[in-house]
C-alpha cells in the first residue's frame, strides 16, 4: 500500500467513538441515580466545580451460566495433585493477577460538573423558580439602548451605519460613499435592576459533642444548599458562623476545620447571625436564609434565650432550616433544638427541620428543604 493511501485510521478511532458512546450512556445512568452521587461524591473543596463519582463500566449482557459453587479448569505449570493455592484473580481488587482466570474489573472515576448535577436536581425536583424578594435597589447595570448619530468612536456600529448608507443611496441623487450622516453609534443606558441578592447563613454547632462525621455530613449538605440557592440569585453570599457556648464568624476553609470544646448554647450563634444581619444586610433588599446544623443537644438553660434569638432571625429570613446530624435515628428531632424548630414551624414560620442520619440521606435533606422552602414562599 502506498505511503499516502490508507491513512484514514490515523485520523479516526472507532474505538474512541464507541468509548464516547459508552461514556454518554454511563452519564445518563448516573443521572438516573442522583441520590447516590450526592451521597458518595467526594467534594474535595468547597469551591469544587466538579465532583468525582466512581462508576463501574457498563456490561453488555449475554446469556451466561450461573456462577457455579465449584468449577473445574485446566492449568499448566509446576503443580502436583493435591496442591492447594488461592486464585490470584480473587486476591486484591481490580488488578488482573498474573496467571489469573478472570478479567479484573476496572473502575472509572467520572467527573461531573456541579452545575450539571444541579441542573439535573432541579429537573428532578421540578421546582418553579423562587420568588425573589425584590426591593428597590441601587444595583445598576448598563444596557444597550438604541443608536445615536454622535458617540464615542469605540461604539460605532458598522453594520448599522452601512445599512443607513444603503438606505440613503436608494434615494435619487445621493452621493455614493459614506457621509457623516450615515454613522450610527450605540447608546448605553443606565438601568435599575430589582435586587436578586441573597445571603445564606450556615450555622454549625462545633461543640465537643459534634463528631467529625457529623461535621462532614453538615458540610456535604451545606455544599448542595449553596449550589441550589446559587441558581436562584444573581449574587449569593455565604456567611459561616460556628458556635459552642460562644459564637464566631469564620471564613469558609476554617469553618469546616474548626472544632471547639464545651457545651452548646444555640442562642449565642443566633445572636451572632442577627448581629451580622444588622451590620451588613438590609432585610428589605436581601433574601436571607439560615441553615443550622447541630446534634440537637442545646443546653437546657438556654431554651428561652434560643427561642427569642431565633424569633428575631426568622422575622427577617426567607427561610430557616435545621438539620440534625446525629447517628441515632431513634431520637431524630426529639431534641431540644428539634422541638424549638418544630414550634416555629407550627407557628406558621417558613422553617423546616430534617434528621440527617447518614450520607445516603443528604439527597433526602436537599429535597426536603427545597420543596418545603418552595411551599413556604409560594
Amino acid at each position: 500500500m502506498g505511503e499516502g493511501a490508507g491513512k484514514w485510521y490515523e485520523l479516526f478511532s472507532r474505538g474512541a467513538r464507541d468509548w464516547l458512546r459508552h461514556d454518554e450512556k454511563i452519564r445518563a445512568a448516573v443521572k438516573d441515580n442522583l441520590p447516590d452521587i450526592i451521597a458518595g461524591a467526594d467534594l474535595a473543596n468547597e469551591n469544587a466545580r466538579t465532583v468525582r463519582v466512581p462508576v463501574r463500566m457498563l456490561e453488555h449482557h449475554h446469556f451466561r451460566l450461573r456462577r457455579p459453587d465449584e468449577s473445574f479448569g485446566a492449568g499448566q505449570g509446576n503443580a502436583k495433585p493435591g496442591d492447594v493455592f488461592t486464585d490470584p484473580s480473587k486476591e486484591g481488587q481490580g488488578e488482573k493477577g498474573p496467571g489469573g482466570r478472570e478479567e479484573g474489573e476496572v473502575q472509572l472515576l467520572l467527573e461531573f460538573k456541579v452545575d450539571e448535577i444541579v441542573d439535573w436536581l432541579w429537573e428532578e425536583m421540578q421546582l418553579p423558580n423562587l420568588k425573589p424578594r425584590a426591593g428597590p435597589s441601587e444595583e445598576t447595570d448598563w444596557t444597550r439602548e438604541g443608536w445615536d448619530r454622535r458617540g464615542a468612536r469605540s461604539r460605532l456600529d458598522r453594520r448599522r451605519s452601512f445599512k443607513e448608507m444603503v438606505k440613503r443611496r436608494g434615494a435619487p441623487g445621493a452621493t455614493p460613499t459614506f457621509t457623516d450622516e450615515d454613522l450610527r453609534y450605540r447608546q448605553l443606558a443606565r438601568r435599575r435592576q430589582p435586587a436578586v441578592h441573597a445571603v445564606v447563613f450556615f450555622m454549625l454547632d462545633v461543640s465537643g459533642s459534634m463528631s467529625d462525621r457529623d461535621r462532614k455530613l453538615a458540610k456535604t449538605f451545606f455544599f448542595w444548599v449553596v449550589q441550589g440557592l446559587r441558581r436562584e440569585y444573581r449574587s449569593l453570599e455565604s456567611v459561616f458562623v460556628g458556635h459552642t457556648t460562644e459564637a464566631w464568624e469564620f471564613n469558609e476553609p476554617e469553618f469546616f476545620q474548626v472544632s471547639g470544646s464545651g457545651g452548646t448554647v444555640a442562642s449565642t450563634g443566633l445572636s451572632k447571625v442577627r448581629e451580622i444581619i444588622d451590620a451588613r444586610y438590609n432585610p428589605a433588599r436581601s433574601n436571607i436564609y439560615l441553615f443550622y446544623a447541630s446534634d440537637g443537644d442545646n443546653s437546657v438553660s438556654d431554651a428561652a434565650d434560643a427561642r427569642t434569638a431565633l424569633a428575631t432571625v426568622t422575622a427577617d429570613a426567607c427561610f430557616t432550616g435545621y438539620v440534625e446530624v446525629s447517628a441515632g435515628p431513634s431520637r431524630a428531632l426529639a431534641t431540644e433544638t428539634g422541638r424549638m424548630f418544630e414550634e416555629l414551624q407550627a407557628a406558621g414560620c417558613a422553617a423546616g427541620s430534617y434528621a440527617l442520619g447518614d450520607f445516603d440521606a443528604v439527597w433526602g435533606a436537599v429535597r426536603h428543604f427545597f420543596t418545603t422552602e418552595n411551599e413556604a414562599t409560594a
Binding site: 485510521y9 474505538g15 457455579p68 473445574f72 505449570g77 490470584p88 476496572v106
Partner: protein
C-alpha cells in the same frame, strides 16, 4: 514498511510452498499500533459501531499499557488473504510474523470447518463487514442512533446463538406440516387410494399449519429475524449482518488451539530452514517465538489457564514427529479443536507439558486434582462448547406472539445467570415487541421462568 523485510517475504513464501503449505496469496500491510488494537477489539478491520466495543477498547488499552499484551499480527482469511502487521515490529519480528501468517493462510484454506464457513460467507468477509458497517450508519441516519442501538444491543447479545450446521442463507420453515398419514406407505393406503370415490368429489385437502418453530431452534439470530411479529426490515438486516459475522468468527473460535499451534509450528520450522536469514535476525526471531509460545507468564510458576499457542504448537510438533507431515495435514484438514484435543492430547504429552486439572471453589481456593485424561480434555474444551454460550433455543411462538425460549440446563449442567439473562431478554423485547418467556432452572435445579 522496511525494504529489508519486503525482500524476505517472497523467499519465505517460496520456502513455505516447497514445504507443502498450500495458501492463497496474502497481502501484507503495516499499520500503527492503535489500528492493531482496534482490530483486536472489533475482530474485523471495519465493523459496526456499538458501545460494547468501546468497553473492550478501554480494557485493551489498559492491557497494552500494563504491557500484558502486544499484537504482532492479525490475519484475515480469504483470497487473497489480508494480514496486518504492527508498524512497531522489528525486522526479526516481521520475518517471524510473515512465516506465522503463512501458517494461518494454509490452515484457513484447507481446514474443512473454515472452508465450509467461507463458502457460506464468501472469502470477502472484510468487505462484507465494512458493508454492514455502512448499512448500519445509513440506518442510524434514517432511524436515529437510539433505535439502531436498541437493535444492535439485542443482536450482539445473541451473537453466539447461531447454528453453523445450517446454511447461512436459510429458507424459512415450510408453511404447512407434511401430512403424517401421507407418509405411511402400506398396502392398505394404496388400495384405498385406488378406490373410486363414492361422491366423485375429492375431499378438501386437510392441510395443517406447521408450528413455528417445528423443532427447538438454536439459530436465534435467524429465528428472530425471520419470525419476530413486528420487526422492521432494517432491524432484520442488522440481525442478519451480525449473524453473518458470527459465521465468520465461529471457525476462528472453534479451531483456535489447532490454528495458532499450526501457525506457530510453521513459523518455527520455516525459520529453522531459512538459511537466507541473517544470524542476528534469526536469534531475535527465535527469542520472540519462545515468548509467544511460552506456557506461563514469566512472573508465575503456575498458570490457571492454558496458552493455546503453546498447547497447539507442542501437539503439532509431537504429531508430526510421530506420524509424519502427511498424516498431520489430514488432521489439520479434518479436525476442529474438539477432535484435535481428544484424539491427540495424550497422557504422555499432558504430563510432559505439566498440564493439570483443578477444582476451584467460589471462595477462590484451588485444588489440583489427580491426573485424568478425559476429564482434562473436557476441562480444556468446556469453554468452547456451543460457541462458548449456554444452549438457549426458541421452542415456541404462542398465538399472541409470545416467544418461548428454553435453556437446555441438562446439557449445560446448571441454570442461567438470572440477572444477565433478564437484561438480555430486555434487549430482545425491544425488537420482538411481544412478551418473552425464558425457562431455565434455579440453584436447586427446579424449573424457573423469566418473563419480559
Amino acid at each position: 514498511m522496511s525494504d529489508a523485510w519486503q525482500g524476505y517475504v517472497r523467499r519465505i513464501e517460496e520456502l513455505a510452498a516447497r514445504s507443502g503449505l498450500k495458501f492463497h496469496p496474502v497481502d501484507f500491510e503495516a499499520v500503527p499500533e492503535s489500528f492493531m488494537t482496534e482490530i483486536a477489539v472489533y475482530g474485523l478491520p471495519v465493523r459496526m459501531p456499538h458501545w460494547s466495543f468501546g468497553v473492550r477498547y478501554i480494557y485493551q488499552l489498559i492491557q497494552r499499557h500494563m504491557g500484558h499484551s502486544r499484537l504482532f499480527e492479525v490475519v484475515f482469511p480469504g483470497n487473497p488473504g489480508h494480514a496486518y502487521l504492527a508498524q512497531s515490529n522489528g525486522l526479526a519480528e516481521n520475518i517471524l510474523v510473515t512465516a506465522h501468517v503463512l501458517g494461518h493462510a494454509d490452515f484457513s484454506r484447507n481446514n474443512l470447518l473454515f472452508r465450509r464457513c467461507q463458502e457460506q460467507v464468501s472469502d470477502r468477509i472484510v468487505e462484507h463487514a465494512a458493508n454492514h458497517a455502512r448499512q448500519i450508519s445509513e440506518a442510524i441516519e434514517a432511524h436515529g442512533p437510539q433505535r439502531v442501538e436498541a437493535a444492535l444491543d439485542a443482536a450482539l447479545a445473541l451473537e453466539q446463538h447461531i447454528d453453523v450446521d445450517q446454511a447461512l442463507r436459510r429458507e424459512r420453515y415450510p408453511e404447512y406440516a407434511r401430512d403424517a398419514k401421507g407418509l405411511v406407505d402400506d398396502a392398505f393406503q394404496k388400495r384405498f387410494a385406488a378406490l373410486e370415490r363414492a361422491g366423485g368429489d375429492a375431499p378438501p385437502e386437510a392441510r395443517k399449519r406447521a408450528p413455528v418453530p417445528p423443532h427447538p431452534e438454536r439459530d436465534l439470530l435467524w429465528f428472530v429475524a425471520n419470525y419476530a411479529p413486528e420487526m422492521e426490515s432494517w432491524e432484520r438486516d442488522i440481525f442478519l449482518a451480525v449473524r453473518e459475522e458470527s459465521f465468520y468468527f465461529y471457525p476462528v473460535f472453534a479451531t483456535q488451539i489447532m490454528n495458532e499451534g499450526w501457525a506457530s509450528y510453521w513459523h518455527a520450522r520455516l525459520l529453522r530452514e531459512a538459511d537466507f536469514i541473517p544470524q542476528h535476525a534469526y536469534v531475535d526471531a527465535i527469542k520472540c517465538h519462545s515468548d509467544v509460545v511460552r506456557p506461563i507468564a514469566a512472573e508465575s510458576q503456575v498458570s490457571l489457564s492454558i496458552n493455546p499457542y503453546h498447547l497447539g504448537f507442542s501437539m503439532w510438533e509431537k504429531l508430526i514427529e510421530r506420524d509424519g507431515l502427511d498424516a498431520a495435514r489430514k488432521v489439520m484438514e479434518q479436525d476442529d479443536d474438539f477432535a484435535f484435543v481428544r484424539n491427540h492430547l495424550t497422557r504422555e504429552l499432558a504430563a510432559e507439558l505439566g498440564l493439570f486439572r483443578y477444582q476451584a471453589r467460589s471462595d477462590g481456593q484451588i485444588t489440583v486434582l489427580d491426573p485424568d485424561l478425559p476429564a482434562l480434555h473436557e476441562a480444556v474444551l468446556a469453554p468452547k462448547y456451543n460457541f462458548g454460550a449456554p444452549i438457549v433455543a426458541a421452542s415456541k411462538v404462542r398465538t399472541d406472539g409470545t416467544l418461548e425460549l428454553t435453556h437446555d440446563s441438562r446439557t449445560d449442567g446448571r441454570g442461567l445467570d438470572l440477572e444477565r439473562s433478564t437484561k438480555v431478554l430486555a434487549y430482545l423485547h425491544k425488537v420482538w415487541r411481544r412478551p418473552i418467556v425464558l425457562t431455565t432452572v434455579n440453584q436447586a435445579g427446579s424449573a424457573l421462568e423469566l418473563n419480559v
